[in-house]
Every structure is written in C-alpha cells, then in structure tokens.
C-alpha cells in the first residue's frame, strides 16, 4: 500500500495526521515552463480531505483542477509544498489512489472482463480468481452481461462504468475522478451520478471529483472546492448540506438551486477577473 509514497519525517510510516484527514495538501505550488514563460498552474494551495469524504473540485478551464488531481495521484510532483495521503508524502502513483480519467482509458484490445481483471493480475492474483472478481465488480457497476464485450462495442457511459470497475479492482482508499462524465449526454450523466452516489455510499471511499459542471458538483459533493484562474487557487470551500443518501429526489431540493446560484455567481465573477489559460492535459 506504500508504493509511490514515503513516510513523512518522523512518522515512521504510521499515520500521524491529526483528526481524520486522509488527503492533505500544504502550501502546494505547481509551475510549468511553457515556451518562454512560466505558467503558475497552482499557487500556495492548502486543502484537506477527510476520510470517507466526497469533495468536488469546481472551476473553469485552466484553473489547475486537473493538475491538483494529478498531484494527489502522484502523476506529477509539486514545485513547492507537500502532498500527503494517509500521513505519507506522495512521491508517485500508487494503487491506494485510483484514478478515473476524462476519457475512459480502457485497453481496446482487452474485453471488459480482461480490463477489470488486469490490476489484480498485475498484483499476482491468479487468472481464474481475477476473472471471477472482475465479473463481480462488473455486476456492481451494472455491466452484467457485457463481460466479453470489447470497449469499442460499449457506449460512452458503459465504458466509464467499466473504467470505474477497473479502478475499484485496485482496492484504492482514494478515488480520483477527472471529469469522468464530461463526455456523456445529460441524461446518461445524471444516471451515472446517481449510480456513483449509490456505489460510494456503500464503499467508504474518499473521493476527489473534478468537474466544471455546477449541478454535478453540488449534487455529488459533501464539499465543493471552487478554484479560480491565474494563478490556480482555491477561492471558496463550501460545505453542501444536502441529506444523504442522495438520489434523483435530491435534485428537486430547493437548497440545490441556492447553491447553484451562489456558485454560478462566484464562477462568473472569477472568470471575468482574469483571462483563462489553457488547461494542462496529460
């Protein structure tokens, strides 16, 4: 469970974070060299995410929200500051932090079952056992009957379900989701959000979910972290007091409208304040 991470000085590998924070970013900055100028993707950012919490990160293009996710995932390292998960500094990717990408990055030459079984095979689980567990995970995300289908035969929503199942196969404690429903049509997106709520409720997973969709951020999150551009920074960290479990009925709650109006106004103000810079993609 320690791959890609290093115990903080004096921590001895044991969790030493106070309270129940699982993810902790302290004074994190990230700059990129682009041509002849330096891009400040993130500037002196502080953020804590509690164990089992669902945090949505909302912001316009270029606010560094994807970079933020990549830092927690260990795919990029901060220019300054520290990122730690479960008390250990993040030094690289690891199976404890499962990433679900914008585009479902399924292996097109593997069947759905084989895609989901792969993380377990890499870990050393026997082929038969891995396939059995893969089938169970596929049933959990509603893909029973599509075990032998290739990704090219699945719809966009089904591909994201399969990608989620493959990420869950790593048995992560943190789920990092980078606009996973961004490419789906509105109806499929809402159905996927509701299903994600159902899955998460039963899982105890800690989730960081990046989106630029205000409704999505409000519907899913315990907290909505709003980011602004140039440099990328947190402009508001708002708790969403909507009852759990959240279902289709939650969408009709009058408080949803209030949150949305507030966040919309906040984003509009910060968008007007500065020119957006292109979002960095992997």
């Amino acid at each position: 469970m320690n791959d890609g991470r290093r115990a903080e000085p004096g921590a001895g590998g044991a969790p030493v974070e106070p309270g129940s924070n699982l993810i902790r970013l302290r004074d994190v900055s990230k700059t990129f060299q682009r041509d002849d100028h330096v891009v400040h993707a993130l500037d002196a950012l502080d953020l804590c995410v509690g164990r089992g919490e669902f945090v949505t990160v909302l912001g316009p293009s270029g606010c560094g929200k994807t970079t933020l996710l990549h830092l927690v995932g260990g795919f990029e390292l901060p220019t300054a500051g520290t990122v730690s998960v479960d008390g250990c500094e993040v030094m690289g990717p690891g199976r404890d932090r499962g990433m679900v990408f914008q585009e479902a990055t399924l292996f097109p030459w593997r069947t759905t079952r084989s895609n989901v079984a792969w993380p377990m095979e890499v870990e050393g689980v026997g082929r038969r056992e891995a396939r059995r567990r893969a089938d169970r995970l596929l049933a959990r995300v509603g893909l029973r009957g599509f075990e032998n289908a290739y990704p090219s035969e699945l719809s966009g929503g089904m591909r994201q379900r399969a990608a989620l199942a493959r990420t869950l196969a790593m048995e992560p404690s943190v789920l990092l989701m980078d606009e996973p429903f961004g490419a789906l049509d509105a109806q499929t997106r809402e159905a996927m959000q509701e299903e994600l709520m159902r899955l998460w409720q039963a899982s105890g997973l800690t989730v960081m979910f990046v989106t630029h969709d205000i409704s999505e951020a409000v519907f899913l999150g315990d907290r909505v972290v709003v980011m602004g551009v140039s440099p990328g920074r947190i402009v508001e960290d708002r708790r969403i007091d909507l009852p759990r479990p959240r279902t289709a009925q939650t969408r009709t709650d009058p408080r949803v409208l209030e949150y949305r109006a507030h966040l919309w106004e906040l984003l509009a103000r910060h968008r007007a304040a500065s020119d957006p810079e292109p979002e960095r993609v992997p």
Binding site: G73, F75, P93, F107, R110, W118, V122, E123, P282
Partner: protein, 265 residues
Amino acid sequence: MSDGRAPLATLREAPWIVSIAFAASLLAIWQLGAAMGRLPEYILGPADIVAATFDQIHRGELLDRVIPSLRRALSGFAIGASIGVVLGLLAGVSRPFRELFDLTQAFTHPIPKIALFPAVAIVLGFTDPARILIIAIAAFFPAYLNALNGALGVNPGLVWVGRNIGASRVRIFLQVVLPASLPRTVVGLRISLMVSFIMMVATELVGHSDGLGAGLMDAYLEAEYGEMYAGILAVAVCGVLANAILLLVSRRLLSWQGAGGTGHD
C-alpha cells in the same frame, strides 16, 4: 427509367463487380491486341503468358526459381523487420534511444538500398548473404518508422493506467505499449514485406544467381519472352500471397478493432 435504376443499385451494393469488370476489360483489350497481331513480338498476350507459365511449372523450372527467391525475401524480411520493430518500439518509449537513432535514421533512410549492393558485394560477393543483407536493410526502415510512430502515438492515458496500477516498466511495455502500437506496426510490416519482394528481384538481377530475378535476366538475354512473363507473373503471385497471409494474421491479432479497423487494403 425504372429499369435503369436496378442495375445501378446493384453496383452500389457490390462495388467489386466494377473492380472485376475493369480488370477483365483491360485483359480483354490486351488479348484482342495480341490476337490481331497488333502488339510487338516482345509483348505477349495474357493467354500466351498463362500458357508459358504452366509450361514452366510442368517442367519444374518455375518452382526451382521460386524457392530460393522466397527463401531470400522471407529471411531478409524476418531479420530486417523484426530488428526494425524492436528498435522502433524502444525508440518510441525512450527519448534517449530515439535521439540516438534519429540522425542516423534520417540520413540512411533516403538511400535507395540497392545502391549499397555493390559496396556489400566487395566484402560478401554477389552471394545469398549479401542479398539477404540488402533485403533486411530495406525491410528495416518501414518496420522501424511505423513501430516508432505507433509507440509515439499510444494514448498516454493508457500508460498512466499502467503506472497507477503499479505495473513495472517492462510489463507496461509488453502489455500496454506493444498491443497499443500494433495496428501501426502491422502497417509497417506489410510495407516491409512488399519492399522485401522488390529488393529480392533487384538483387537477383545482378551477379550470378538463381531465383526469379535471375530467371528474368536469363530470359531477357536469351529473348525467351514467355519465360520472362512467367517469371513476372510468379513474382506477382508470390507477393500477393505473402501479403494475404500477413493480412490474415494481422486481422486475427487486431480482431479487437472491430469491422473496418484495418483500413484500406
């Protein structure tokens, strides 16, 4: 009017009819020209070429030429293409590797490989190893360049998934980069195979040799035009068959791409 629409609709549904009709009419015009004695003596009609080919097969001469030729072409292809694929994929995943080869590749690629044959012959003579070496060098480049571009074009997200899962570099190379580059790599292999056949004939034309290329040269020197055209036909048939086998294998390997995934043949 309604009578005229039905055949057109049929043609749209079965465009291969047009293909066959076009080829058949070319052959028919050719044959007609030959039958009317309008062609020069060194251009035989299709019927005469087929007859000459069967005659050669019956005498066992054609097979005696085909076997050494295929041995050279396929050995050269196997050596050159496999080295090309391995180095191309490695260069695709490793920047230092890529930069190591880049300049050398850029300068050597434009050389017509047959131009190297005399230089190789100084050391090896006009021998089989020299011919196979030239074929291998020529087959190397399309395999290398396409494998390289295949590996460079791999969706980085797939590699990130591998890193997230904790797969080793070797495993990511073998189980992610290799299959993801396969469609492009196979395109390179097919070009390499065609180039191997071209170089097979070209190297056999020079020096004392056996094989199809040498047969063409002998037939030219002896003005045996039937033999010459039989040789050309044999080269064509070998090339088409080898390409068909490679295509069949690649379709199996790339079956996950679904219908139409292998592009135009």
